[in-house]
């Protein structure tokens, strides 16, 4: 993941709801829950300091359709880095909801994260430390397995697309997920090339895993083709044109707390240096955050990260008439046949 200090959640225009009206979507309730008055003030001050600029509150664009946990058993989260399952823009809250609902979770970490950390102990130490953190953080979200593909961090542009795609097809056929989550294959201007590379390979893998004539050698292992019915894509929405989510998922306080904890469990994300630097920025502007008083720099850093997580979840929530939310581009099981989607939904019956 990039160092992410941005706070603006700009979601652009509301897409037409016509194409994704699955039975697992319904319109959100109209009421809005407010946060405690102190919280928005604190976080606004925090964001000012973090960015060194005026924090732009997300423009309210009206609610998106509300998504629900779809029926299924297996969730596969495929991401380039150790910590991409959980950050302020997504995934962690929905993952927590799904595993709580009974989903078995698998995390595929494509790179070795060797660059994410200092050089005191070398790249190998970063890989090991980040891998261990990924296990702890995903476990906190209810994920039971982490599969590392060990591609070199920040050298992924040169990986042959078909090779990475085929690794993912193999894993999809082995674990047969009902849900795949990843960065957004059609996201605009994600500045992290690892994100782009992996997202595109995921898009390609879920398209092709269902065709028996793609990698027919997998049949020798007893692996059958598998169509992934539900896909959830997300990307930071304040890079360039970002992306246009089409659903929101309501999060509970507990979901956000689990998400925030998972983020903090990545040691690289919480450091005394970051806490100290933020306080210096605040001091330079004559500002302070009372909640940070008396905390060590490391504790302050941890608290700031937690605030950021809550603040972003609450912004997405406010846009959609709930307290906390994450937003996604969701593709349902009939996305590939837009001319047949409504017919199937209206005419399919129980066996």
């Amino acid at each position: 993941m990039n160092r992410h200090i941005s706070v603006g959640e700009k979601m652009g225009t509301l897409p037409s709801a016509a194409y994704h009206c699955s039975p697992w979507l319904h319109r959100p309730r109209a009421t809005r829950s407010g946060l405690s008055p102190i919280f928005p003030r604190l976080t606004t001050v925090l964001c000012l300091a973090l960015l060194g600029a005026v924090a732009v509150s997300a423009a309210s664009i009206g609610p998106l359709p509300q998504g629900k946990v779809p029926p299924g058993k297996t969730l596969m989260v495929i991401q380039p880095h150790h910590d991409d399952h959980t950050w302020q823009y997504g995934f962690g809250g929905l993952i927590a909801k799904m595993t709580a609902a009974g989903y078995k979770g698998i995390y595929v970490r494509v790179s070795n994260d060797e660059k994410d950390g200092g050089m005191q102990n070398g790249w190998g130490a970063n890989d090991k430390s980040n891998y261990e953190d990924a296990i702890a953080a995903t476990k906190n979200l209810g994920i039971g397995e982490v599969i590392s593909l060990n591609w070199r961090n920040d050298h992924m542009s040169s990986i042959p697309h078909v090779e990475l795609r085929d690794q993912l097809i193999l894993l999809v056929r082995k674990h047969r997920p009902d849900v795949v989550m990843s960065y957004h294959p059609w996201g605009n201007y994600d500045r992290n090339p690892d994100h782009r590379k992996v997202a595109w390979a995921v898009g390609s893998a879920v398209w092709l895993a269902g065709f028996a004539n793609v990698r027919p050698d997998h049949e020798k292992l007893g692996l059958k083709p598998h169509q992934v019915p539900f896909k959830y894509y997300s990307q930071r929405s304040d890079y360039g044109r970002g992306y246009h989510p089409n659903i929101f998922i309501e999060l509970t306080e507990e979901d956000v707390a689990r998400k925030a904890l998972s983020y903090r469990l990545h040691k690289i994300r919480v450091s005394a240096g970051a806490g100290r630097h933020t306080r210096e920025l605040l001091d330079a502007r004559g500002l302070k955050i009372p909640e940070l008083e008396g905390l060590s720099d490391e504790q302050a850093s941890e608290r700031l990260q937690e605030m950021l997580m809550y603040w972003t979840s609450s912004q997405s929530g406010q846009d959609n008439g709930v307290r906390y939310a994450e937003v996604f581009y969701f593709m349902d099981e009939w996305h590939g046949v837009p001319g047949l989607e409504s017919y199937i939904q209206q005419n399919a019956v129980e066996r």
Partner: protein
């Protein structure tokens, strides 16, 4: 100096386009060549078949370049048998729409991510210089959420090929064998309605492709018959839908028995709905949607004046 050069070039381009094709792109479409580039056998029919048939009915000469061999999209058939059958069926479908010729480039379906974009561009460039189309149909590489990524690769290569075909420093050997540069004045970007924002213009500039819906009522039946000719792909789609439903204890009565009749009915429902989606909020009852770049959309209005 650069600005002057650029301006002179643009003026010459405008002059040559207007001289050769007149001010009505439609007139060019009626009398000239229509070249359609498609990644696979079905996409261009589902997204643009009615409009293409209309142009060919009106007297244009049609050529189809099908980039992949569709060897993946079948149910219980080997890649080789799938490719063989789909080639035959795609030629039948093209004949129904009125095409004169189909060129199958034979790339393996689903594998274009491993093909050099320059190679793909130059294969398409060849046909642009060979047929010198007045109208070019290509998959829209800017359409989002099109999961069949071959369509993106082909659209991107075809767009680049159209530009490169007009410039003599691309593929100089082609000129040696008589394939001169060619400017294609009309360009239609097509895509099935996966992208919820497909009706938004790409920008506010006047010279970028604009969303456009065209009436296909008069050629709807041709489009339907062409789509139904793709028996292997249609059977595969029906089986996948049935498979997914059965895996979740559901069924679609229409597909209780999968045979030619039920598959054709499924195709008919699909084609009707696609035409209805494209016609929504337009004056048409059955339509297709494009992003269109005609002469007037390719040149800033200040130069045209």
């Amino acid at each position: 100096m650069n600005f002057l050069k650029q301006r002179m070039t643009t003026t010459l381009l405008v002059a040559s386009l207007l001289l050769v094709f007149g001010s009505s792109p439609a007139a060019a479409a009626d009398k000239k060549v229509v070249l359609v580039i498609t990644a696979d056998a079905s996409d261009y029919i589902l997204a643009a078949g009615g409009t293409i048939a209309k142009m060919l009915d009106a007297g244009a000469e049609g050529y189809l370049v099908r980039v992949t061999n569709d060897d993946k999209d079948s149910w219980d058939l080997t890649p080789e048998e799938t490719a063989r059958r789909t080639r035959e069926e795609s030629e039948q479908a093209a004949k129904i729409l009125g095409f004169k010729e189909v060129e199958s480039l034979g790339y393996r379906a689903g594998e274009l991510g491993g093909v050099s974009p320059t190679e793909l561009r130059d294969r398409i460039l060849f046909y642009i210089r060979l047929y010198k189309p007045a109208v070019l149909f290509i998959p829209n590489p800017y359409a989002e959420y099109v999961e069949v990524l071959d369509r993106f690769y082909v659209g991107q290569a075809a767009e680049d090929a159209r530009r490169a075909a007009s410039l003599s420093n691309y593929q100089p050997p082609f000129a040696v064998v008589g394939l001169e540069t060619h400017v294609t004045p009309e360009l239609y970007y097509y895509a099935q309605p996966f992208d919820p924002r497909r009706r938004e213009a790409e920008s506010t500039a006047t010279f970028v492709p604009q969303p456009k819906a065209l009436d296909i009522a008069s050629t709807f039946d041709k489009k339907l018959r062409a789509a139904q000719a793709l028996k292997t792909i249609n059977h595969s789609t029906a089986m996948r839908i049935k498979d997914r439903l059965e895996s979740t204890d559901r069924r679609l009565p229409l597909l209780d028995e999968i045979n030619e009749e039920s598959v054709n009915r499924l195709v008919e429902i699909n084609i009707h709905k696609l035409a209805e989606i494209a016609a929504k909020d337009t004056e048409h009852s059955q339509a297709e949607e494009f992003h269109y770049a005609g002469v007037e959309y390719q040149i800033p209005s200040k130069y045209l004046q």
